[in-house]
């Protein structure tokens, strides 16, 4: 059996691929396999990728050939690639494009590669009910309303369709990206952002126009969204995960495009306006008065002739939005996310309903090129004093986490850290308001919680961005879509059990590249020998698997 020690990949029979980070050809191998694999974890030394049907079909949709995938693996394999893996890639890859959806007048047509496949699909319980008249042995008429669900059905049958049925035009919108922003800074898309938009739009061809762009936190997904709107030049509906994010999009559109303020509207709990660019949250769209009721805000999807719908943080897309998206297949759709992996496992729905992955760049590459900041994570284990220890020991289990999280000794540690990090832009984030209020009193930094009025929040964020204040204390509101690019130190005084998503979101707050190239610091305070340590371990594993350097500091007992 041949062995190539200088190569970086170990390809395993279970379709996982291990990448030895310190191998001389590691970077080359990473670039070679990224288009058709999913990165599962990337701890310091060995990264794990997975080859899945979706990863192969995403690659095929992006135009990658089976031979190219196999060559990439062969060229970088340390040990010979298991033949079973090669066979499976070939088998999976061949499936893509065996079915296509085209437009024929007012109807759609499903075309299959051959008669046996057509017969197979006619007998498939998910596909069969969606097929109309059989026009020829291999072609079926399809009601345009079934375009989305048919694609879902074909995916579950193992024959993902290539959707070539094209899009309807939305109302025109004249928009350009500025070269100098309204705040006076020069602005241009980075090369990877340009590539991402080109991969999505494909110069207006039917093969483009729908899909997902995967970029790490801090890589400028919003800019990609703006460039996509500028490419399509049509009315656009932007869906985001929360209101702060809505405001951030608004700010960026005004700052970096030629659109006037009245061309942008917010559709939220407070205001329900529409304009050529309308921003809404998943929350408002998924709202209904009772469990089995209608979704009253779904009307927004038909309120204007949208030419493009942007799904921000597509990995958080809720189920009702999937349902409505199945009916919106004739409109261009762009998903933006840092990860294709969803906690609910509905990656297949993203593939079929939003579109295949069109572009991604590993965060390591962007970090290496200075587009996102490197981060160092430090977990500080803080002992409780004797009294707290006893209170913790005898408390009912459900209260123990809170007692540990609110360990009063953490205040002194926060103060020490603030002292050590003077000159840095610091965020202190926590779960419990009383604890945060105490920190605010001790540090004299402003506190922003869910109860802080939006205007007050925006003012504080502005002050932070302008350098008028060097630190902010944030409750859970700090988890999502905050644009505070200069923040470089984050102190997490308490967290929500072991939530990985929360950890990623919080860390994302300090990953924007720093003008002086310095690394971001992420401190997480945990009470020593308590259940908080156990929950922190989940987060520790998550961050380690994301590839961040992770250190533990144990403070001395009192």
């Amino acid at each position: 059996m041949s062995y190539f020690p200088e190569n970086a990949l170990i390809i395993q029979s279970d379709r996982s691929v291990l990448l030895e980070v310190h191998s001389p050809r590691a970077d080359e191998a990473r670039v070679a396999i990224a288009p058709f694999t999913e990165l599962i974890k990337s701890p310091e030394h060995i990264h794990t990728y997975r080859i899945s049907p979706l990863s192969i079909w995403n690659a095929r949709a992006a135009g990658l050939t089976i031979d190219a995938m196999l060559s990439a693996l062969h060229d970088h394999a340390k040990y010979p690639m298991p033949e079973a893996v090669a066979q499976e890639i070939a088998a999976l890859g061949q499936r893509y494009g065996l079915t296509t959806i085209d437009r024929e007048g007012e109807y759609l047509q499903l075309k299959t590669a051959d008669v046996p496949l057509a017969e197979l699909l006619v007998r498939n319980e998910h596909v069969s009910p969606l097929l109309g008249k059989r026009i020829s042995p291999t072609v079926f008429q399809v009601n345009p309303a079934y375009r989305g669900v048919l694609k879902q059905g074909l995916l579950s049958a193992g024959y993902p369709a290539e959707d070539l049925a094209g899009y309807i035009s939305g109302d025109a919108l004249a928009i350009k990206l500025r070269e100098t922003t309204q705040t006076g800074a020069s602005f241009a898309l980075r090369d990877y952002q340009k590539e991402a938009v080109e991969a999505f739009y494909q110069a207006g061809a039917v093969r483009g126009g729908s899909g997902v762009i995967v970029l790490p936190c801090g890589a400028g997904k919003t800019m990609v969204g703006l460039a996509a709107i500028a490419s399509v030049q049509e009315n656009t509906l932007i869906l985001t995960s929360n209101l702060t994010s809505v405001h951030q999009w608004q700010r960026e559109i005004l700052d970096k495009t030629t659109l006037p303020e009245d061309a942008i509207a917010e559709y939220s709990g407070a205001v329900k306006n529409t304009a050529p660019i309308t921003l809404a949250t998943y929350q408002i769209l998924s709202y209904r008065t009772h469990r089995d009721g209608e979704f009253p805000h779904f009307d927004l999807f038909n309120a204007r002739a949208w030419g493009l719908i942007i799904y921000d943080e597509v990995h958080l897309l809720p189920a009702p939005i999937f349902r409505i998206t199945a009916e919106l297949q004739a409109r261009r759709r762009l998903g933006l996310t840092a990860t294709l992996i969803r906690e609910d496992g509905r990656e297949g729905d993203v593939f079929t309903l939003i579109g295949p992955k069109r572009y991604d760049v590993p965060w390591r590459e962007l970090e290496g090129r200075g587009f996102i900041a490197a981060a160092e994570c430090t977990e500080i284990r803080v002992p409780q004093d004797a009294e707290q220890q006893m209170a913790y020991a005898v408390a009912p289990k459900r209260l123990q986490f809170r007692i540990a999280a609110e360990n009063p000794r953490k205040f002194a540690v926060v103060k020490d850290l603030l002292q050590q990090q003077i000159g840095h832009r610091i965020l202190v984030i926590g779960e419990y308001i009383e604890q945060l209020e105490t920190v605010a009193q001790l540090t004299r930094l402003p506190l922003i919680t869910g109860k802080t009025p939006q205007r007050e929040r925006d003012r504080r964020y502005e002050e932070f961005r302008d350098g008028k204040i060097l630190g902010l204390i944030l409750s859970r509101v700090g988890n999502f879509a905050l644009d505070l690019p200069d923040a470089d130190v984050l102190i997490q005084i308490s967290g929500k059990y072991g939530s990985r998503q929360e950890e990623a979101q919080r860390l994302g707050r300090v990953l924007r590249p720093k003008s002086d190239g310095r690394s971001a610091q992420f401190f997480s305070l945990v009470s020593l020998r308590t259940c908080e340590e156990d929950f922190a371990r989940h987060r520790q594993l998550f961050l380690a698997e994301q590839g961040y350097s992770y250190h533990i500091q144990v403070l001395a007992q009192i």
Partner: protein
Amino acid sequence: MGLRFENYFTHLTTPLVADMARSWGVDKGLSQRQYVVAISCILNDPTQIQRLIAGLKPYERLALEIAKSEGGKISTRMLAIILQLLGVEDPDFKTQSHHDDAFALALIRTGVFIPDIKSNERYYNPNYEILISDERILAQVEQAQLPHIPLVKTTTPEADNYRRPASVIFSILGFMQAIALLGGIKLTKSGKPQVNSLRKLMKAQRWEENGILIDGFWFPQPTVGMITAFANSGVLIPNSDKSMLVLANPVEAFANRSYLIQIGQILSGFIVANEWAEWTPTGWIDVDRYIEARRILLEVLKLLPSDNQDWYSLEDLEQFLFERISDRFSLIGFIHSVRQFQTPGVSQIEIEQRWREQRQQDWQKREKQWLRQAFATWLYLLGIVELGLTRSTTTSAPLTSKNKSSPSNQTDAIVSFRITELGRALLHPELASRPMEIIPQPAWIVQPNFEILVYLDQIAPAQIIFLDRYAERIDIQQHTVQYRLTRESVYQGLEKGSSLAEFIDLLRTGAKVALPQNVEIDISQWAGLREQITIRRDTQILEFPDPQTMQSAMAKGLNGKILGDHFVLLEQNMPLIDSWIEQRICYDKLLASCLRINEIGEVKQTQAVADLLLETQLKRWMEPRDQDWALTQASVKLAIQAGNKVSDILEFLEVRLTHPLPPVLKVALTAWAGSEPTVEMAEIVVLRCTNPEVFRAIAKSEKLRSHFVGKLAPDLLLVQRSQLKKLKQDLAWLGINPLEQLKI
């Protein structure tokens, strides 16, 4: 029993002994005893033995050499088949109807073999299945220099797969550990592994019942196969009351042996696996033939050149076997005789041609398929062969899961094979020049997420034992094994007696890169916590009604450690102050009976008790209901899921109830806990007649009685369903038309 003819003569007939004696030059007309004495005398003379050997026909001498290589005792069939494989058998025997016996007798008559016949077989059915040679004869026989079988080497395949010895060992040890964790495999009364026990093992191994893919090769029924092999090889043995199969030796003791001994032992078990087959053909399986087939296959591999790394075509091997032994060997133990093809007017050549064509068809369906499966299963699993594959890029198999027909299954793509270094060492132990093992060296990488990636081509056996002791195995692949360090796995390792420093040191020595700081800190903390747990015996705890009373007692000089709001752990030598104590509870005595329970599980506390256990137990098993508690199906299920046993609640209720537990609730508790009793229901037909006279007449009628199964009540008869139509006819004859609807 030593290999001396004198031990076996007594069970032979005189004519056979006389034939043997004749070969040794002994005159005719002696008694059996005289023949034996004469032969024994000659056997003590090496010169005479050498003379006899020199006069043997080539195939007889080769048979003797093969017997010597097998230790002097060999199955007649195997011997005949090996000779056939080598192409040196005397063709005369093939024409005889019982050619195995004819072959055995011919060898016995040469004087150098004797059959291993048991006393009761002597006259009625002499058995020549096993042949033995005398140790004095064997001493004069040269070590067998068997010719190689004439297989031509083939080209290097497009792709290939093989298992490293370490990978094989990981599989074996992993399987043993899973059995150890389960505490063994339960046996049925007939001594077979219980289905449930096998399922648990299967789950622990994350296998599928029908089969798994090992590096892309389909291995059917892995749990059954491995259990059978492990039991046959003595790695698993029945416990003292024969209720379980347990490990004969601890895993670590087994792991300390050399790779060759470990794998050789399992190989011996696979060869005689009688509960498992490499494939599932339609129809009947002759287990003995499968065992024979495995032996033949190993012999064939032994007869391949052992001094090179040539590849051989699987098809060539299969053709070779067909040519050489298909007239003698079949997996179903039956081969059509040439006579069955005889037709008047057809030449013998034509008849033999037809027979051969039929045989080839049968062989293609069975033996050929089996051969491929044997290579893809135990020969590959145990790392004996490396398999060459052909590349094919077209497939239309379903992709939904990894199954036998999935494109991941490469068994059909096998085109060639070669013997691995491990295989050569197992097949030719006499040639094994150096041990297979690697000396300990850096062989793994510890990652900050507590995972350890082990490189199988670099790990030494001692390191495997080390990792298995301290880490949890996650996955074995062809080139790597992944472990995870967890608090539990580290505790388990430390409990086996080594220190934290030793553990860290070995972990560091085996690592290719520095240990991540967070891993080292966490491991040290875990070990520190473990060492901090102190068990106190003979303690005295005071419980106070409220924190104020407790504080006031402390202020008055009570010396101890406060535990929560109500408790004080008294200093060890502190005398109890009686005035503070209202009630003493001795936990080692029976606790107060204070609960009443009804049939539907409602529990009432009849008196207040102060012991600390009651509330915990109630919370564990029951749901709170206002002031009371209730045992419900959901609460019991939750308690069971949390690891409690139904015997615990029964024991608790026995102590705490003021009256016996309602039997129906006991049934419910047991059923809720998962041991559902079997009850059966059926819809029945009854005949009801309220008129006693008519009822009696019907019930006692000879004509009608056979339609009833029995009497359920004074006016109710249970009707035999199959007789319903007839009963209605008979009742109609009586002038009775029974009403269809009966309300009970």
